[in-house]
Amino acid sequence: MAHIDLQNELPGIRGLMAYSPDTAKLLNELAELLLRNDENTLSRGERELIATYVSFKNDCFFCQQVHGALAGHYLNFSVAEIDAIKTDPQAVIHSEKLTALLQIAAAVQKGGKQVQEQHIAAARQAGATDKEIHDTVLIAAAFCMYNRYVDGLATWAPADRQFYVDRAPSRAAEGYINTPLNTTK
């Protein structure tokens, strides 16, 4: 049960968003720009994978299922492959740039000061641009916010992981700003 009365039965961040629509609108706008806006040299799938990896490191079940299913949808990875990426990205992903960016994201998750020159140098060596490095840090930082919001208020999450996989195609099509806040779908 959530720490506060959300006056709805929606899971995860959706319950919080229905409870607080003013902040929901802005949180969704940020997610849309960071993860889904197509004016980006990182693919939607790559960005969702960064979100998944950070949510995994923060042990946020709801966020890692939602974003893991979206990453799987975009990148054509099974749940098992997404799980394998969480524990050892290099074993599954062959892009040196993406694995270097995931290392930056993992450092951000531990703390801003954990991002070292060598993380940045490795990403640049693999071809990452300033903007890609910026966006990786901001996506990772944003998920340190979203994950804490979701778990800090003890929201509930469907335990069936297939639930998230089934919803991913429609969530990918709708995006973050077009979903009605109180939808039960």
Binding site: S20, I104, G112, V115, E117, K131, V137, A141
Partner: protein, 186 residues
């Protein structure tokens, strides 16, 4: 040296928010709403939440900026110094102390927030919305602190920069200045 090219006259967060202005817009609006919007928590109390989280994350830029804003809003410079050491010993109402404890736990992890900490805040009179806003403000500063330090932004060369910044945060808030920030160039 920052890891990406940000404007040299804009230390800390400001250079980042000017670097990518489209994502800055919802971040700024969220901060303005949470820290300056209508709320039963005072603006000073909300700046204390920003301060205790930034201090715990060892983010010097954010801690100095929000402590200065809290000092100005509370009219007392000793409270921010005390909450950095032990918020339970600060001369604050029980409710504020309980909310600062929730913020401190959110900083560690969302899962670190205990039923006991929530119950203590409720017993001290905190409403559900105040608890919600405390958690979201604390989570937001976990974003800011990582953004600022994760890209290795600079601290201002002149510490008086923070006095001007605090003055701006108190009197103008978190929206982008309509005229931008070129006037800060030396």
């Amino acid at each position: 040296m920052p890891y990406i090219p940000v404007a040299a006259h804009l230390p800390g967060i400001t250079g980042l928010l000017e670097y990518r202005m489209d994502t800055a817009a919802p971040i700024r609006a969220l901060t303005q709403f949470l820290l300056r919007g209508p709320n039963t928590l005072s603006q000073g109390d909300r700046e204390l939440i920003a301060t205790i989280v930034s201090h715990g994350n060892e983010c010097r830029f954010c801690t100095t900026a929000h402590a200065a804003a809290a000092d100005a809003l509370l009219g007392d410079c000793s409270i921010t110094e005390q909450i950095k050491v032990d918020h339970f010993k600060a001369p604050l109402p029980e409710k504020t102390k309980a909310l600062l404890e929730i913020a401190r736990l959110v900083r560690i992890s969302g899962k670190a927030v205990t039923e006991t900490a929530i119950q203590q805040a409720k017993d001290a009179g905190a409403t559900d919305l105040e608890i919600h806003d405390t958690v979201l403000i604390a989570a937001l500063f976990c974003l800011y602190n990582r953004y600022v330090d994760g890209l290795a932004t600079a601290l201002p060369e002149d510490p008086s920069y923070f006095n001007q910044l605090a003055d701006r945060l108190v009197h103008h808030g978190y929206n982008r200045l309509p005229q931008g920030y070129d006037h800060l160039k030396k």
